[in-house]
C-alpha cells in the first residue's frame, strides 16, 4: 500500500494546518477582538511597540492566549510523538503512551496532592499548581520506573512483561486513587474529576518552562531514533542484527515517553486519545516509516490539540469545557471508524 499522500504534499499541508490552528488559537476566544488588534498585540510582544494597543487586548493576547497556545502546541506534539514511540516499542498500532504507567502514575501523584492539600498539608494557594504539576510528573516517572524494573529479566527488557506490569500498576494506581477519592470531600472530588479531564486553562509562562525543556528534548531526540524504531518493527532481534543497541533504544524510548507524557500531564492534566489517534491517522497518510511519521505526528498533534482547545473554550463560553472531553469526543468515534474500516 502506498501512502495516501506523498509527504511532499502532506508536510506543507500539515504545516499550513498547524499555522492556521495557531492563528485561530490566538485570534479567537470568548472575547472577540478585531484581527488587526490581535496582530498589533502580537507585534508588541516582539518588543517593537509599533502601535498602541488597549491594555486589555494586549493582556488577553499576550498573557492568556499566547501561553495557552504554546502549551497546547507542546502538549499536542509531545503526546503524539510519544504515542508513535510507544506504538513502535510495543510493535502495536493500538499502543498508547499510557501503557507504561506514566499517565496513571501522574494521576496518582496529582490525586495525592489534591486530596492531601485539602486534608493534611497547607500551602500558599499560589504554590498549589506548581506542587500539583511536580507531584504528577514525579508520580509518572516513578510508576514508569517500576514498570521498567518489572519488565527487566537477565539484563533484557521484556516488552510483553512490561505491558503486563503496566496494566497491573495502572490497576493498582487506580485503586489508590479510588482510596483517595473515598477520603476526599465534595469539593476535592470535583477538583480530582476536573484534573482527570485535562485543561489548558490558566497557562502561564512561568509554568511553561519545564514543559518547554522536555518538549524540545523529545522533539529533537525522537526523530533521531526513526531508523531504530523502523527496525524495531521488524522485531527486536532483527533490529539487533541491523546494528542497533536495542536495549539502549528501549531504555531511551521509555525515558523519553515518561518525561514527555509526565511533563505534558503535569502541565495540562489527562488528555486522552491524542497519543493514540494522531499517530494512527498519520500512519494512514504517510505510511509506517518513522522518518516521515514522527514529524507528521508532531505537526498534527499540535494542530489537533489547539483546535480541540479552541472548541473547549468556545462551546460553553464564558465557561469552558475540559479539553479531555473534546479530544475523546473527536477521538473515540474516529477510532471506531478506523476499526470498522480496517475490518471491511
Amino acid at each position: 500500500m502506498n501512502p495516501v499522500l506523498n509527504w511532499r504534499v502532506l508536510y506543507p499541508l500539515l504545516a499550513a494546518l498547524l499555522l492556521l490552528a495557531v492563528w485561530l488559537s490566538l485570534a479567537l476566544g470568548p472575547v472577540s477582538l478585531p484581527l488587526a488588534d490581535t496582530l498589533r498585540a502580537l507585534l508588541n510582544i516582539t518588543g517593537l511597540n509599533l502601535t498602541e494597543v488597549q491594555a486589555q487586548t494586549e493582556l488577553i493576547v499576550s498573557q492568556i492566549r499566547l501561553p495557552r497556545t504554546l502549551l497546547g502546541l507542546m502538549v499536542g506534539a509531545v503526546l503524539a510523538l510519544t504515542g508513535v514511540a510507544m506504538q513502535g516499542l510495543f510493535r502495536n498500532p493500538l499502543a498508547d503512551p499510557g501503557l507504561i504507567g506514566v499517565s496513571s502514575g501522574a494521576a496518582l501523584g496529582a490525586s495525592l496532592v489534591i486530596v492531601g492539600l485539602s486534608r493534611w498539608i497547607t500551602l500558599p494557594v499560589v504554590l498549589e499548581p506548581y506542587v500539583l504539576s511536580a507531584a504528577a510528573f514525579a508520580g509518572g516517572l516513578l510508576v514508569t520506573a517500576l514498570v521498567y524494573r518489572l519488565g527487566r529479566r537477565d539484563g533484557q527488557t521484556q516488552v510483553a512483561t512490561m505491558l503486563l506490569a503496566g496494566i497491573a500498576l495502572t490497576a493498582l494506581s487506580g485503586a489508590i486513587i479510588g482510596l483517595f477519592t473515598y477520603l476526599a470531600d465534595d469539593s476535592t472530588l470535583r477538583a480530582l474529576t476536573f484534573w482527570n479531564l485535562g485543561s489548558l486553562n490558566g497557562a502561564s509562562y512561568s509554568r511553561l518552562w519545564p514543559l518547554l525543556v522536555v518538549a524540545l528534548g523529545v522533539v529533537y531526540w525522537l526523530p533521531r531514533r526513526a531508523d531504530a524504531l523502523n527496525a524495531m518493527l521488524l522485531g527486536e532481534s532483527e533490529a539487533r542484527h541491523l546494528g542497533f543497541d536495542v536495549e539502549r533504544v528501549k531504555r531511551e524510548l521509555i525515558l523519553c515517553t515518561a518525561l514527555g507524557v509526565g511533563a505534558a500531564v503535569a502541565a495540562a492534566g489527562m488528555i486522552g486519545f491524542v497519543g493514540l489517534v494522531v499517530p494512527h491517522l498519520m500512519r494512514l497518510l504517510v505510511g509506517p516509516d518513522h522518518r516521515l511519521l514522527l514529524p507528521a505526528s508532531a505537526l498534527a498533534g499540535g494542530a489537533l490539540l489547539l483546535l480541540a482547545d479552541l472548541a473547549a473554550r468556545l462551546i460553553v463560553a464564558p465557561a469552558e469545557m475540559p479539553i479531555g472531553i473534546v479530544t475523546a469526543l473527536i477521538g473515540a468515534p474516529f477510532f471506531i471508524y478506523l476499526l470498522i474500516r480496517s475490518r471491511g
Binding site: M1, R91, N230, L233, L234, G235, H241, D245, P288
Partner: protein
C-alpha cells in the same frame, strides 16, 4: 569468517547443544540438517549472538562475536530468522531498504541495491506493494532480499545466516531463491543455511552439518554426510542414495 569453537548451549539447565566446532569458509555454503529439536536453532542463535554459549566461544574474524559493536557487526553479519512478526504496512522496498541501515552508502546506491536484490530473489514484481498484502512465501522472499541487501553484493569476510529460508516457498521459488543464495556466496561471502529438504541441501551446499540430539552427528561434503546409515541414525528414515543423473550430487529417495 565465523567460527564456533567447542560451543555448548544450555537452556533451562538442559544442554541443547554440545561441543560444536565449525568454521564457515569464504564463498561456501554450509547446510545444517537435523530433525526437530536437534539444536539447529540453538546453533543459529549462538552463532548470531542471540544466545550465550555456556562454554566455548564464537569468533568473527579472530575476535569474540560479542566484542563486535552493533553497526560494524551488522556490516559483516546478516541473519534471516525463521519468521517475522512485522505487522505494519511498509512497502516492499521500504522493508528491503532497512537492510541498508548499517551502511551510509546514500539514497541512490541503496535504491539500486534494493532493486537488484528484489530481482535476485525473483520479487522484482512485488515492488510498490504493501508488505501486509503479500502471501507468506512472498514475505519470506522479501525478508531474504532484506538480509541480502544488508551484505550486498557479498564479499570475502561477510557472513549470512539463514534459518529455513524456503519453508514457505513453492518448488519453483525454492530453487530460484537458493540459486540466488548460491550466487551470493560465489562473490566470496560465507553462508550458513538451515534446511529440511535433504535434496535441496545436497544440490546447493558445499558442506553439510548433520545435527542430532544437540551434537554433531556428521560433517563434511554432501557425499560424506548424506549416507543411509547417518540418515537412519539421525532421522530414523530408510533411504536410498543415488546420484543426480545430470548434476552428479547425491539424491535421496525414501524407501
Amino acid at each position: 569468517m565465523l567460527q564456533a569453537q567447542q560451543v555448548s548451549v544450555a537452556r533451562g539447565g538442559r544442554c541443547v547443544l554440545g561441543d560444536v566446532n565449525l568454521a564457515l569458509q569464504p564463498g561456501q555454503v554450509l547446510g545444517v540438517l537435523g530433525p526437530n529439536g536437534a539444536g539447529k536453532s540453538s546453533l543459529l542463535g549462538v552463532l548470531n549472538g542471540e544466545l550465550a554459549a555456556s562454554s566455548g566461544q564464537v569468533l568473527l574474524d579472530t575476535q569474540p562475536l560479542a566484542s563486535w559493536q552493533g553497526r560494524r557487526r551488522a556490516q559483516r553479519l546478516a541473519v534471516l530468522p525463521q519468521s517475522s512478526s512485522l505487522s505494519f504496512a511498509f512497502s516492499v522496498e521500504q522493508v528491503v531498504r532497512m537492510g541498508r541501515m548499517p551502511h551510509d552508502t546514500g539514497m541512490a546506491m541503496d535504491e539500486d541495491i534494493v532493486n537488484e536484490v528484489l530481482r535476485a530473489v525473483d520479487a522484482g514484481h512485488l515492488a510498490g506493494r504493501s508488505y501486509l498484502q503479500l502471501s507468506g512465501g512472498e514475505r519470506q522472499r522479501v525478508h531474504l532480499a532484506r538480509v541480502l541487501a544488508q551484505l550486498w553484493p557479498g564479499a570475502d569476510g561477510q557472513v549470512l545466516l539463514l534459518d529455513e529460508p524456503t519453508s514457505m516457498l513453492d518448488p519453483l521459488h525454492q530453487l530460484s531463491v537458493l540459486d540466488a543464495v548460491r550466487r551470493f556466496a560465489d562473490h566470496g561471502a560465507s553462508v550458513l543455511i538451515i534446511l529440511h529438504d535433504l535434496n535441496l541441501a545436497a544440490r546447493y551446499c558445499d558442506q553439510l552439518l548433520l545435527l542430532g540430539d544437540g551434537s554433531v552427528q556428521a560433517c563434511g561434503t554432501p557425499e560424506q554426510v548424506l549416507q543411509p546409515a547417518h540418515l537412519h541414525r539421525v532421522f530414523g528414515i530408510e533411504v536410498l542414495v543415488q546420484r543426480h543423473p545430470e548434476r552428479g550430487h547425491p539424491l535421496i529417495i525414501a524407501r
